[in-house]
Amino acid sequence: MKLSQLATSLSSKNAGNFHLTFDIVFDSADTYRRVLQSGALTPESVAARYGVSVDEVVSIVGFDPGNAIKVNMRRRRPSGDPGETDVFGAQQYSPLLDLEIP
């Protein structure tokens, strides 16, 4: 199934001026654990969907109390730099939507 079908919400936002954080929230602990344990969401798989080096994916964190997975990535450039088109980092999550989860 695609990640967008399993998650109740999937969003992105700046975490500070140099990083993006993606929050993938599920409606049950079971679904959350399934995705976390599927091995589908890794720094390598995320980097591949954005065409970036794996070093740009800073961390992937499972947040048990919220049934949520957080993916952290460096921004392309600092927020508000010349040529900025997404100063809040709010529209960077689409490549994760159709990530296949076994």
Partner: protein, 457 residues
């Protein structure tokens, strides 16, 4: 004026607005909160989210009338129930000038409405270039991937330290009724009073983080509504004041994820809030009780410093294409335009950014589906140069070049771009960039700020 609640060992904090002055907060839920006679009426007025321009340039962020409306409403509410009023990161960027502006607004309203006398504490947290240059060896990069050097400081127009809780505690110690602060960590202005009463720092700071964005901790997150956080000896409770909203464990944990890299650890000056053992439990159907947050102190006191520097003046042209041949050849069109700019203006000393909406404007080279172009594209062209005259020349060449675009190599007849108007747009915002995003170790919390007191009659 005295507060007879220390025996009850609790502190209630009404967050009037998730972002003071941005747009006016709604009054019904605010006054519903005031009816509960909170100990504090507070709001965070700033964020790094807004980009480097406001910090670097000193340009006002919010509309003056909305800034005043929110502040005066908070002041009246606080005075009506004997609550402290606390505002942090004044003006968006937290500059000294905004602390002074807020003070002026508060003082005027106090006199006009007969709300005095009130004791006002002003906390200033701008740091100068000299201050930074004296501390280069005590600075480490936080978000910025470069070290803090004298050159980086020279490129910086303005910088602020994100102060911790101690300056607020001093203000409360000295009997302040109203605290107006420059750039601050967003949790400390809500945590100050509970901590001052002796309640747990970890719980208080976590509560502050929960309510500082206002409605985002509740569901649905109706905009501009007030929320309340109450710290007890062994936990804290958050709840919204609007009857159509509620806090649930999911809404509170959802907000714990917001805008941070680590949902288990919140670092701040002097330590961190450890949230690995936190429980979130529903209280009734619209409040949540949180327990288990603990403060872990660190030996060093480090403040985050934000700094921004000017890149140049900015002129903008927007043009679009609907012709599929033009769209297919957009890179050649833009290369031709850039070539013409180089020919006329020279190769150096300017930047020209083309963002192609409908292709990859939003994600740039991270958009692996950029080839799936739509029927229509728009190009946002931003010309940046130290002098406005150069930026204007470049923008005019872009505008002209878009109208005379050559893309009929395949034999099809081509037309010029669609422009909303024959104009170069001049945004108020010049181009700035973040220069400083570093942690600086200080000997004590007051090395990077100053606190002043004034009684307004």
């Amino acid at each position: 004026m005295s507060h007879a609640h220390s025996t009850l060992a609790q502190s209630s904090v009404l967050c009037a607005s998730g972002s003071l002055g941005l747009t006016p907060f709604h009054s019904e839920s605010f006054w519903a909160g005031i009816e509960r006679r909170p100990d504090v009426v507070a709001a965070d007025a700033g964020s790094g989210d807004i980009g480097p321009f406001y910090l670097g340039s000193g340009h006002w962020y919010n509309l003056p009338e909305w800034e005043e409306q929110d502040l005066v409403r908070m002041l009246k509410g606080a005075r009506s129930c004997g609550a402290k009023m606390i505002v942090g990161s004044a003006g968006g960027a937290g500059l000294d000038q905004a602390v002074d502006l807020y003070h002026e607004i508060i003082a005027r309203a106090t006199r006009r409405e007969g709300l005095g006398p009130i004791k006002v504490a002003r906390i200033y947290s701008e740091v100068s270039r000299d201050w930074l240059k004296q501390r280069l060896d005590r600075a480490v990069p936080l978000g910025a991937p470069w070290p803090l050097t004298a050159d980086v400081v020279d490129e910086t127009r303005r910088a602020v330290a994100m102060i911790g809780i101690e300056p607020y505690l001093r203000a409360l110690d000295k009997g302040a009724d109203v605290i107006i602060a420059g750039r601050s960590c967003d949790d400390v202005l809500f945590a100050a009073h509970p901590v001052w009463l002796g309640l747990d720092r970890g719980l208080s700071l976590h509560m502050g983080k929960c309510i500082e964005c206002g409605p985002l901790v509740a569901t649905p997150p109706l905009q501009r509504e007030s929320v309340m956080g109450t710290v007890f000896v062994d936990g804290f409770v958050v709840e919204p004041l609007h009857p159509g909203m509620r806090c649930t464990p999911a809404s509170v944990t959802g907000h714990t994820l917001y805008e941070r890299l680590d949902p288990y650890l919140q670092a701040g000056p002097g330590g961190a809030v450890d949230m690995t053992e936190v429980s979130y439990e529903a209280v009734g159907d619209r409040a949540v009780r949180v327990t288990g947050s603990t403060w872990v102190g660190s030996p060093d006191y480090r403040v985050k410093v934000e700094g921004a520097g000017r890149v140049g003046a900015r002129k903008v042209v927007i043009f679009g294409f609907r012709d599929p041949v033009a769209i297919a050849h957009i890179d050649e069109i833009l290369d031709d335009i850039r070539g013409e700019v180089k020919r006329i203006v020279g190769s150096d000393g300017w930047q020209l950014h083309f963002s192609v909406y409908g292709r990859d404007a939003i994600m740039g080279d991270r958009d692996l589906k950029a080839h799936e172009i739509g029927r229509e594209i728009a190009v946002l062209a931003q010309a940046i140069a130290p002098e406005a005259s150069t930026a204007t020349r470049i923008a005019k060449l872009v505008k002209y070049g878009s109208l005379r675009a050559q893309y009929s190599r395949s034999g099809a007849k081509g037309g010029g771009a669609a422009l909303p108007g024959d104009e170069v747009l001049t945004p108020d915002q010049e181009s700035y960039r973040w220069t400083i995003d570093h942690l600086v170790t200080v000997a004590d919390p007051f090395e990077c700020c100053r606190v002043e007191f004034e009684t307004v009659a």
